[in-house]
């Protein structure tokens, strides 16, 4: 088991009177895929947004590479090497793959772009991820399929020497072949030594790629286990009831308060 790269301890978050996250502990390890599962409203997206710096946390501490850090905004998270691939892909249809991958962080001197450098870097990144379904890096994003777009969005996140990549439902809108493509990519990210967090509703996807599964139940971390130690039905019970046998929260009915 590798060292944790990102560790959250006792995170609490409220929106007004609604207590969304209760003392959540969450660990992301380098070289592993951690699946974050939970029913709608369990707090998955809130947790991701807290990590990404979009929402400030009320209490709790964040450790990155063993050091305590404070994330006050998306820029802090990006500086640490935390990248988020959102569900609605943040890509511009009218730009090509290279332009999208470098959007907002273009390379060049004095405002003049260095296209050659960017194109080579984009190609290296895609090649290192063994992306092979894109014909040319100069293809406009408008001409790509859903899976290819997701690939570009993920490759964009990897380009920045990132250490942790959070993927919010990357396969939700994809067909079978394209889901395959994206899951392979998720696996390869972990093989390259990144800490990967995969949010998904699809148990098949989770069991296929995840090394560990973290299950949120009504804002509490019900269980965080290696994938090989749990069965499909146990995870479903954890998601829906917060408890399965001796796993999960002791008194899930109390959690609803």
């Amino acid at each position: 088991m590798s060292e944790p790269i990102l560790e959250l301890r006792g995170i609490n978050k409220s929106f007004g009177a609604v207590h969304v996250l209760h003392d959540v502990d969450f660990t992301v390890r380098a070289g592993e895929v951690t699946a974050l599962v939970g029913d709608n409203g369990a707090g998955k997206s809130t947790l991701v947004k807290c990590i990404a710096g979009i929402h400030p946390t009320d209490s709790g501490e964040v450790l990155f590479d063993g050091r305590q850090v404070s994330i006050h905004g998306p820029k802090d998270a990006a500086d640490l090497g935390i990248e988020v691939v959102y569900q609605d892909l943040a890509l511009c249809d009218n730009l090509d793959i290279v332009q999208n991958m470098f959007l907002g962080r273009e390379r060049g001197k004095a405002g003049v772009l260095d296209e050659a450098d960017m194109e080579q870097a984009a190609r290296r990144t895609l090649a290192s991820l063994s992306v092979r379904t894109v014909k040319s890096v100069r293809t406009p994003v408008a001409a790509l399929s859903g899976g290819q777009r997701q690939t570009v969005a993920i490759a964009k996140a990897v380009l920045w020497d990132s250490k942790v990549v959070l993927l919010d439902e990357p396969t939700a809108a994809l067909g079978v072949a394209q889901t395959r493509q994206v899951l392979d990519l998720v696996r390869r990210l972990a093989e390259q030594g990144l800490g990967v967090v995969l949010i998904s509703h699809n148990m098949n996807d989770v069991f296929e790629v995840a090394d560990r599964i973290a299950c949120l139940y009504l804002g509490r971390m019900a269980a965080e286990l290696p994938t090989k130690d749990v069965s499909h039905s146990q995870v479903v019970e954890l998601i829906t009831a917060g408890r399965s046998g001796d796993l999960g929260i002791a008194r899930p009915d109390m959690a609803a308060v």
Partner: protein, 509 residues
């Protein structure tokens, strides 16, 4: 089209799908495979053509492939400037056949000067249109800059007496507001130019043709700061803001010039802008600089891309394009250096000044949009505002800045059209000026929906409109026919835009 479907089709081929992870993670992956059971047993290393399959082989194409890819793009709805160029050819042929005087040297030179004012305003509008916004006030705003310029010239720099005390102080206050607003959103160029305008106005710098042109440009920038702030920061739709300002600036022009009045631009330099010509030697020098510069830039870039193994067009195509520009440029320069005077008393020859003016603006505009970070951000905001925001682009700043550019460039257009007629009247920039400029940009292929368009679209579209007006005028058609035909051409262009978007959306993903 075909390439994308082929791309997705290969994804079904699972064994072939996985390449090796070049970072040496493969061993770890196999170890995990055994731990994780049958789910991932399909993970086979196929080191054969993993990387070679990606991209690399498409960096260079043969001429045939490139042409086929182009045809496929056009069929898929990416028309670009193609319809406008075809229209241009058709119009040239039709008018040359119908009118003897259309294809004379004198008329062609006249046509260039006639269309330039609108074309320049359209070039500025392209920036605004790229964001999917519109600036309806660019026409009357250009009228304001023209009237300030003329007033400053006529009153020899004393705007206080020219405008009257109240109006003068309101005008100065508006310039101060523009500076403040630009500083607030950190649009430095807008703040700087507005400040220059303020200094010229308050210091009463004596009349000088170059100062007048600078003043017009700076007043244009100040107007853009106000428009841009209202749209970008306050958040009023650009259509409403600029519609209101269209009316307001029209009134300001009337106030500055006075009802029924006309301000003459009696100055040789200002008159020469739209009516003067380069000498024969200078004309050829312009050709050498322009065509030679184009060839040098295009060829250097092409061979540097080839050397670095980047995506590049076939050398043949690039050579043909460069050759065509050089030959056409040489032919045009030669023809324009012939004497085109109809009387024997005077000789008129040389390339009109408006040609280098438009070329310089074209080069600067293209450079900004294609080669700078700022231009890339304009396309990004026009394509997907939310994505641009998440990528850390200051969307508000970009939105304000395009209005500053649009109004400043419109001021340059105002200089040219005022110079053409030699005076500024209360109707300057009013009427159809703006609508023709928007029409020129759209006819050239700029999308009204944002994210798609180039500066050269404005030039091509401007040429189409100028030819229609000039040609129908030569055929002694009444103004009614000219307006109707122009309207129909614009409608046609807008339909092409909408149609191309539909085809692009319907294209298989």
């Amino acid at each position: 089209m075909s390439d994308t479907s082929a791309g997705t089709a290969t994804t079904g081929d699972k064994n072939d799908e996985r390449g090796p992870a070049p970072t040496g993670g493969e061993a770890g992956a196999t170890a995990k495979n055994t731990a994780k059971g049958p789910d991932r047993s399909t993970d086979k290393a196929t080191p054969s053509a993993a990387i070679a399959d990606f991209g690399i082989d498409t960096t260079s194409q043969t001429t045939g492939e490139a042409l086929r890819a182009y045809v496929a793009r056009v069929r898929g709805g990416e028309f670009g400037s193609l319809p406008a160029l075809l229209g241009l050819v058709v119009l040239l042929v039709v008018f040359s056949a119908l009118s003897d005087s259309f294809l004379t040297l004198g008329n062609i030179a006249n046509l260039l000067a006639q269309g330039t004012g609108t074309t320049i305003i359209a070039m500025g509008l392209v920036f605004v249109l790229l964001l999917g916004e519109i600036d309806l006030s660019a026409g009357t705003a250009s009228g304001v800059t023209a009237s300030v310029m003329a007033l400053h010239l006529v009153r020899n720099g004393n705007l206080l007496s020219g405008m009257g005390t109240t109006v003068f102080y309101l005008f100065a206050a508006a310039l101060v507001v523009a500076v403040v607003l630009a500083l607030l959103l950190r649009v430095w160029i807008g703040a700087g130019l507005s400040a220059v305008a303020l200094v010229i106005v308050l210091a009463g710098v004596p009349a000088n043709p170059w100062v007048e042109m600078l003043l017009a440009l700076c007043v244009g920038a100040a107007i853009g700061c106000i428009t841009g702030f209202l749209v970008a920061k306050v958040g009023i739709p650009s259509f409403v803001v600029t519609l209101a300002l269209f009316l307001a600036w029209g009134g300001v022009v009337l106030q500055f010039i006075g009802e029924g009045g006309t301000l003459g631009l009696r100055n040789d330099v200002l008159f020469a802008v739209a009516n003067g010509n380069l000498s024969t030697a200078a004309s050829w020098a312009l050709f050498v600089v322009a065509a030679g510069g184009y060839a040098a830039v295009v060829l250097t870039r092409h061979f540097s891309r080839l050397r670095k193994g980047l995506v590049a067009q076939p050398t043949t195509l690039v050579a043909v394009r460069v050759g065509a520009v050089v030959v056409l440029g040489a032919a045009a320069t030669y023809l324009l250096t012939l004497n085109r005077s109809v009387s024997n008393v005077v000789t008129i020859s040389g390339v009109p000044y408006v040609v280098p003016i438009v070329l310089v603006l074209l080069v600067i505009g293209t450079f900004v949009l294609d080669r700078t970070r700022y231009g890339r951000h304009i396309y990004a905001v026009g394509g997907n505002k939310e994505a641009a925001r998440r990528a850390g682009i200051n969307v508000t700043q970009i939105r304000m800045s395009v209005f500053v550019i649009c109004s400043s460039v419109a001021a340059l257009g105002a200089i040219v059209y005022s110079s053409k007629v030699g005076s500024v009247d209360p109707n300057a920039g009013g009427g159809n000026t703006l609508l023709f400029a928007v029409g020129a940009a759209v006819i050239g292929g700029t999308s009204l929906f944002g994210g798609k368009g180039r500066i050269r679209d404005a030039v091509i579209g401007g040429a189409v409109l100028a030819i229609i007006q000039n040609g129908l005028g030569l055929l002694k058609q009444p103004a009614a026919v000219v307006s109707i035909v122009t309207g129909l051409v614009l409608l046609l262009a807008a339909s092409v835009d909408a149609l191309s978007r539909r085809r692009a959306a319907a294209a298989p993903r």
